[in-house]
């Protein structure tokens, strides 16, 4: 195998990543040893390969030492494979003549013995050198970008994205599972922290969406299938009830399906469903809208208690914070007080999350309005019980109050449970349908938590609003716009490049057994009766390689992941 290497000129770059890698791996040492490998023309170690000078170094070397292969031993390829491919191609070398050795996430950061870590880092780098030799020059394909867009969900996020995209000139298909637009906000009277009219927001958005000539709305409908690939999706939309689905061509998809509220009945402490005067925030909204905040007995409550974090920030239910409930609770404190001036309002909380613009002011105002804030420890939930007949209240809430260190009981005639946000039941189903992933809580996973909160691991599929994680209105709107922006950018180009990694069938080897046809989840393999052979529709292929492993006559090649490459890598890692 060394012979094959001999004729190559490989450049190897070991990144120190500040001290991230250098702390556990002797980078210079590794670079030094690799330098002696056959075919390696140059081998260096540098503080930050990803930095501008780092990339410049690679480009310069490629030109100077006319390298034909490049290996970068650095962080995970998920981090910077693209960065370095770009650098390589800037030096007029095919970007796929590049191999990344992951010596940070899977070496420096997970080991404690510098010796062993260094040895492993070397093995990984050597393997990368072995593998890169078998890399081939691949070309990206470019396909047309359909300017139409599918938006799933008619809440504030969905409507905002739809409006922006339609205003920009593309046709938008808006799929809404209910018979009206507005989503969760349609059930809310006022918004926190300024107590502005939620209804006006909805009215404004809905009117504009309904009247927009470029938006087609599918009420009481759902996405039943999504075929194709970025720029060229075929989405099947079916109305509830009738099976006949309508298919539309879209270039991108915005998933804005939002959330569902936590089912308070799951928490035995609160007796929701058993005690008539324990209600959820949603039920309170209904009361407020009807203008009557009163107990089941029809009396105005003297004592009202708001309980925070119902289903949120709790080991048994959801560990995460639902982000909007705190402000909503403070808002309710004011609304109830203004509806029932005589009422005493108690607010049972863990921490007040008043983090946004105007939030702290609302918190201060709520305190000033004599709202009594009572703090409980996470996971030490309050317990609600019926009061004794003699009492001047309907229920008593037992709390271990942290700020006083007392175990207290709070009189209550009405208890409002601030139910948290939960991923929708069908999130996994939908995720599979549009081929994106969900986290342990059922929220859709963004392609990067910090730098790319709207894109997903699947090209052309974007997420916006509370389906990605709990969010308030402004943040949902911002994210929806962000998704729209990304799509507009794509549309402006007219075409898009799709990854060069896909499978190929060698017609000479193919026996036409058709095993692969059935295997492909994307029906990307077609059988040609004429030639009696199968071939891959590369644009549809997502390069999973299932067919490659299955082919009895090993006629299928996974570009970028060929058998030779992986064999070479195996030999490499085993030194």
């Amino acid at each position: 195998m060394d012979e094959t290497k001999q004729e190559h000129r490989i450049g190897v770059y070991v990144c120190q990543c500040g001290t991230n890698i250098a702390k556990m791996v002797d980078c210079d040492g590794v670079a030094g040893e690799i330098a002696d490998m056959p075919g390696v023309a140059i081998s260096r170690s540098y503080k930050y390969m990803c930095s501008n000078p780092g990339q410049e170094m690679i480009i310069a070397d490629i030109k100077e030492h006319d390298l034909d292969r490049v290996v970068v031993a650095a962080c995970s390829p998920h981090m910077h494979e693209l960065t370095f491919r770009k650098a390589v191609s800037q030096a007029d070398l095919n970007p796929y003549y590049l191999e990344i050795a992951n010596i940070r996430e899977q070496c420096a950061w997970v080991h404690e013995d510098r010796g062993q870590a260094t040895a492993k880092a070397k093995d990984l780098t050597v393997a990368a050198v072995d593998r890169v030799v078998y890399q081939e020059a691949l070309e990206k394909m470019s396909v047309d970008m359909c300017p139409n867009c599918l938006v799933i969900g008619g809440g504030i996020a969905g409507m905002t994205a739809a409006l922006d995209l339609a205003d920009a000139g593309g046709r938008v298909y808006l799929v809404e599972r209910t018979d009206h637009l507005g989503g969760q906000i349609a059930h809310i009277a006022l918004t926190a922290p300024y107590l502005d009219s939620a209804r006006e927001i909805v009215e404004e958005r809905v009117t504009r969406v309904m009247r927009h000539p470029k938006i087609d709305i599918f009420f009481e409908s759902q996405l039943t299938a999504l075929d194709g690939y970025v720029g060229n999706f075929q989405a099947a939309i079916a109305r509830k009830g009738d099976g006949a689905a309508q298919t539309v061509d879209v270039g991108s998809v915005v998933v804005a399906t939002g959330y569902k509220t936590f089912d308070a009945a799951r928490i035995p402490h609160y007796g929701y469903g058993k005690l008539p005067n324990v209600i959820t925030s949603l039920e309170l909204e209904r009361m407020l809208r009807a203008g009557r905040v009163e107990t089941k007995e029809g009396k105005p409550p003297q004592y009202v208690t708001l309980i925070h974090c119902v289903g949120s920030r709790n080991l048994e239910y959801h560990s995460y914070c639902s982000r909007v409930c705190c402000m909503a609770a403070l808002k309710y404190a004011h609304e109830i007080k203004s509806s029932v001036p005589g009422a005493y309002i108690n607010d049972v909380y863990i921490d007040i999350h008043a983090f946004g613009k105007g939030h702290e002011d609302l918190y201060r105002r709520t305190s000033e309005a004599n709202t009594l804030f009572l703090m409980y420890e996470k996971n030490d939930l309050p317990v609600i019980r019926k009061a004794d007949p003699g009492d001047d209240c309907d229920m008593l809430i037992e709390v271990n109050e942290s700020l006083s260190g007392e175990s207290i009981e709070i009189p209550a005639d009405l208890v409002v449970l601030m139910v948290g946000m939960e991923a929708r039941d069908d999130c996994r189903e939908l995720a599979r349908l549009v081929n994106i992933s969900v986290d342990k809580d059922g929220w859709f996973i963004e392609s990067h938590p910090k730098l790319d909160p709207v894109a997903t691991t699947t090209e052309g599929i974007y997420i916006a609003g509370a389906c990605q994680a709990p969010k308030d209105i402004p943040d949902s709107v911002a994210q929806a716009r962000a998704a729209a922006a990304r799509i507009m950018g794509r549309i402006a180009h007219g075409t898009i490049e799709i990854d060069a990694m896909y499978s190929e069938i060698d017609p000479d080897k193919c026996s036409g057994c058709r095993i692969c046809n059935a295997l492909c989840p994307y029906v990307a393999i077609e059988f040609d009766p004429a030639t009696h052979k199968s071939h891959v529709i590369s644009a549809l292929c997502k390069a999973c390689g299932a067919c490659v492993a299955a082919c009895p006559s090993s006629a299928i090649k996974a570009r970028g992941f060929t058998d030779e490459q992986i064999f070479a890598q195996i030999e490499g890692v085993l030194g």
Binding site: I352, Y363, S367, L374, M375, S404, S407, P411
Partner: protein, 386 residues
Amino acid sequence: MAIRVNPKLIEELEAYGAQDVSKCYHCGNCSAACPFSKEPYIIPRRAMRSLQMGLEKKLESDLQPWLCYYCGECSAQCPRGAEPGETMMSLRRWLTARYDFTGISRAFYRNWKIELIAIIVVAIITGIGFALWGLNTGDINVYSGANAFLPASQVHVFDWILAGFLLTMLLINCGRMWWFTVGRDKDLRLGAGDYLRKAWLMPYHFITQRRLSQCDEKRPWMLHIVLMLSYLTMLILIMFFLGEMAAGPEIDWRVHAFGLAATVGLLLTTFLALRGRIKKVDALHRHSHETDWMFLILLAVVASTGILQFTLHRTGNDAAANVAYIVHMMAVVPMLGLEVPFSKWSHMAYRPLAMYFAELRAEALPARVPKAELPAAAEPARSPIA
């Protein structure tokens, strides 16, 4: 047994001057800013909390408000403008009302007009009483000696009656204070020995105002102690040397000296206090309850009329001196009869008592096991008071 919270108490306290308690979000800044905040007496936040939650019983048996001398540091640093200092002041008013069995104090604090009326009524009765009595027993033109308009000997008797009344009231209320804060607490194991061993704390704190001297700001302490001592001196003089005071030029020079010193002390301090409350610069003077004003004004009148009659008498205007004397009495009687047992002045007795009780409690309390042990947390101070 869980304690019931009572959101109504905070409203009741507004009448006593606690306007901003609900603003507190319990960051704990005030307790740490307070020079007196030592376990087991973490002040002022914990009292603020009890008040917010309306834990009446707990507050009633709480000595913490008395341990605060209102240096104002907590209010100055409070991030929410919740005025912890003023809240403690209001709690002291509320406690005074609680201790007072007659309910008069409560009436005074909840509605200052009642106190004002009471003062005026008492003053008028005193005035008329003394005038009539003087006119048919003595001569308006004679200040002292034989045939004096208001002969010292008789006034003296009156003084003693008044003192007796005043003392009984105070004793009963102090008794109640003891019961609320120490007596009824089952967890406390206190023998007569403990009471005796610590008894010195009362006079000690009464005379020295030691604790106030520990505030970062020393000026209030100096004023307070001057006021206190002048007042005490006056009291003693009146109680035991009234004769000499009323006597003419042949007055004993010591009485003379003390008398004048005390008067100057009183006038000076009341003047400064009044000025402070008008200017409202430093935190402790920013808020004034009506009862504060009445008390200060009474004190000013007493002192000024006192010195006035003295001067008039010395300058030979006996008639004028006698009139001044009556006015003087019109201020003195309501002050001693109303202010001392039922209003602000009573803290003169409650504070030293509180120091004493607090120390007793701290001694007798079973060692508290903290919920969570801190790595480097300080040990609870042995003596939180002295």
